[in-house]
């Protein structure tokens, strides 16, 4: 079984959902990891969950990145066969920590948006999307006030050239344009990974789309992809 560690920061509120998604729904091993933990090497995958770590004070993720566990996460990221997934606030923390490029701005329309959106799988040759078809449309909810992804032109070009864009916002037919962009994100970016492909951040919540009672089961594709990928070298 794949061992997941779900980091709990003061103000995390999707930690239990993530644990449930990997443990109860996906049938893997999973534990909470307190934000003061130093040793996380026993896990295969670390999840930084959504929420409002440290009240989102100063900037989203800005304080959390200095938690003790983040030193361990930095070391974890450079190890072979270790994976890190940041969801929503977790993505914001990865950006602040410099593990992924760019930054988040306030949503284009200044509103906190909580609703189902559609994602286009831009790259299916990743550890997070290998169970998807390229261009497959996933229905997953978002819930954030600062998910307006921004980076400079050079960074965007390098993200595109290196196939680091994993998910883009689209409509139910896969159309990607300004109208199908919920928050103003550059290039409709909803999820990106690092060059090595072992660190991924996404604003939408796959852990909230795991059973049909929740309105969608598409989140399973993300977790099943991760599990399958990790199992190859266990």
């Amino acid at each position: 079984m794949v061992k997941f560690g779900v980091v709990v920061f003061p103000g995390s509120n999707c930690d239990k959902d993530c644990l449930w998604a990997v443990k109860d729904v996906s049938g893997q091993k999973a534990e909470f990891v307190w934000h003061e933990s130093k040793d996380i090497m026993k896990y295969d995958v670390i999840i930084l969950p959504g929420g409002f770590s440290y009240g989102d004070y100063l900037r989203t993720g800005a304080i959390a990145r200095f938690s003790r566990v983040m030193d361990a996460v930095q070391k974890f990221a450079v190890k072979k066969n270790k994976m890190i997934v940041g969801i929503c606030n977790g993505f914001q923390i990865l950006l602040e920590a410099g593990l992924l490029p760019g930054a988040m701005l306030v949503n284009r329309d200044l509103k906190f948006i909580s609703k189902f959106i559609h994602l286009s799988v831009e790259n299916n040759a990743t550890a997070y999307t290998n169970k998807c078809e390229k261009g497959q449309i996933l229905r997953v909810p978002i819930a954030h006030g600062e998910g307006n992804y921004f980076c400079d032109e050079k960074t965007l070009n390098s993200l595109i050239e290196n196939d680091q864009v994993v998910f883009r916002y689209c409509d139910e037919h896969g159309k990607i344009n300004e109208e199908t962009n919920p928050n103003g994100s550059l290039y409709n970016i909803a999820g990106i990974m690092n060059k090595k492909g072992n660190v991924m951040g996404m604003m939408p919540h796959p852990e909230r789309a795991m059973t049909k009672e929740l309105g969608s089961t598409d989140g399973n594709l993300v977790f099943r992809s991760i599990v399958d990928h990790v199992k190859k070298y266990l």
Binding site: F66, A103, V106, D109, D152
Partner: protein, 79 residues
């Protein structure tokens, strides 16, 4: 004792939806001569450090924590 006044603002070229909304409101109020509004943060620090390395320390604090160099720039005054 020294007081440091720090201003963190969005870099030129980074969209500022809040500033745009304030500008829109001002326009509605009849202030037609406002060209642009940019929002930012103001931070005050009191410190025992009033020595030569204070400027260096504040730069470090701003680079590491108070500003995100991807989207923000900063300036400060020391009193």
């Amino acid at each position: 004792m020294a007081k440091v006044k720090i201003y963190v603002t969005l870099k030129d070229g980074v969209l500022d939806p809040q500033g745009k909304t304030v500008q829109f409101a001002l326009d509605k109020m009849g202030y037609k001569n406002i060209d642009s509004v940019r929002m930012g943060k103001y931070i005050e620090i009191d410190t025992k450090n009033d020595g030569k390395d204070l400027k260096k320390q504040i730069d470090e604090i701003c680079d590491k924590l108070l500003a995100n160099p991807n989207i923000e720039k900063y300036s400060f005054t020391i009193e």
